[in-house]
C-alpha cells in the first residue's frame, strides 16, 4: 500500500515539475535562439573562401534528465510500441540547448559563424533498469573569427 502511494506521489510530482521545467526551458530556448540567429551554425565542411579568419574549436554540452512521469509513459509505450514523444522532447531540448551554448561561446569570441558542426549523444545513467534516464549531448564546431582588415592587407 505504502509503495503504491509513494509511486503515485512520484508520478504527480514528476508530472507537475517536469511540465513546468520543460515549458520554462522551451521558452528560454526559443528566446535565445532568436537572439543568436545572427550567428549561423553550419554543418558544411568547406569554409568560405572569402575573407581571412582565425579559427577556434567551440563546444557546448548539456545533460538533461526525464521526469518520473515521462519515464512511466515511456515504459507503457514499450508495451504498445509507437513514437515515444516523452523522449523526443528530451533529446530535442538537449540538442538545442547544447547548440545554443556552443553559439554563446562563439558569440563571446566575436565569431561570424560556426562551421562543421557535429553532435555527439551519450546516455549517462545506463544500466539502471535499461532506462535512458539522462542523456548528454555535445555540440562542437569551428568558430570563424574575422581578422582585422589591417592584418590581411599586410600579407
Amino acid at each position: 500500500m505504502f509503495e503504491l502511494i509513494l509511486f503515485l506521489i512520484l508520478l504527480v510530482l514528476g508530472y507537475g515539475f517536469g511540465r513546468w521545467a520543460e515549458k520554462r526551458h522551451y521558452r528560454s530556448i526559443i528566446e535565445r535562439e532568436k537572439t543568436l540567429n545572427r550567428l549561423p551554425a553550419i554543418a558544411s565542411r568547406i569554409p568560405p573562401e572569402k575573407g581571412r579568419y582565425r579559427q577556434t574549436l567551440v563546444m557546448g554540452n548539456t545533460v538533461i534528465s526525464v521526469d518520473y512521469f515521462k519515464r512511466f509513459l515511456a515504459g507503457l509505450r514499450n508495451l504498445f510500441g509507437g513514437r515515444v514523444t516523452a523522449y523526443e522532447t528530451l533529446l530535442d531540448r538537449a540538442r538545442r540547448e547544447s547548440l545554443l551554448r556552443m553559439k554563446e561561446q562563439a558569440a563571446g569570441m566575436n565569431a561570424e559563424m560556426v562551421f562543421n558542426v557535429k553532435y555527439e549523444t551519450a546516455s549517462i545513467s545506463k544500466g539502471r533498469r535499461d532506462t535512458i534516464g539522462s542523456v548528454e549531448v555535445l555540440a562542437y564546431g569551428t568558430a570563424l573569427i574575422p581578422e582585422p582588415a589591417s592584418a590581411s592587407d599586410q600579407d
Binding site: L10, L13, G14, F17, G18, A21, E22, H25, R45, P47, P48, E49, R52, Y53, Q55, T56, L57, M59, N61, T62, V63, I64, S65, V66, D67, Y68, K70, R71, E97, F115, N116, K118, E120, A122, S123, I124, S125, K126, G127, R128, G133, S134, E136, L138, Y140, G141, T142
Partner: protein, 104 residues
C-alpha cells in the same frame, strides 16, 4: 596551438602531417552529486553537476591531446572529434582525437 575540427585551414598551408594524437579521461562524480541527480530523475530537468563534470573531463582530455601534439612538435591539431562512452554506471569516458600538423 590551433585546434579545429575542419579538415583544412583557410589561408594556411599544411606543411607536415604528424599523425594521430589523442587524449582521454574517465571521471566519476562524488556521491552528493549522484544523490542530487537521483532527485532530478524524478523532477526532470538539467543535471548541472553532470554537465560541469563532463565539461571538466572534456577539458582535461583536450589538454592531454594538446600535450601529445606539442611533444610531436605540432602547432595545430585538425579534424578533432569527440566521443563519449559510459564505462560503468556513474562514470563516463571522454575521448578526443585529431590529426597533429604543422602549418605555416
Amino acid at each position: 596551438m590551433l585546434i579545429s575540427n575542419m579538415e583544412h585551414i583557410p589561408g594556411k598551408r599544411i606543411t607536415e602531417h604528424l599523425g594521430l594524437v589523442q587524449g582521454s579521461s574517465v571521471r566519476a562524480k562524488h556521491v552528493g552529486r549522484d544523490i542530487m541527480a537521483g532527485l532530478k530523475n524524478i523532477f526532470g530537468g538539467e543535471l548541472k553537476g553532470y554537465t560541469e563534470l563532463l565539461q571538466e573531463s572534456r577539458d582535461e582530455a583536450l589538454g592531454r591531446m594538446l600535450q601529445q601534439a606539442e611533444a610531436a612538435g605540432a602547432n595545430a591539431v585538425m579534424n578533432v572529434r569527440f566521443s563519449t562512452s559510459s564505462v560503468a554506471q556513474g562514470a563516463a569516458e571522454i575521448y578526443v582525437y585529431g590529426t597533429a600538423v604543422t602549418v605555416e
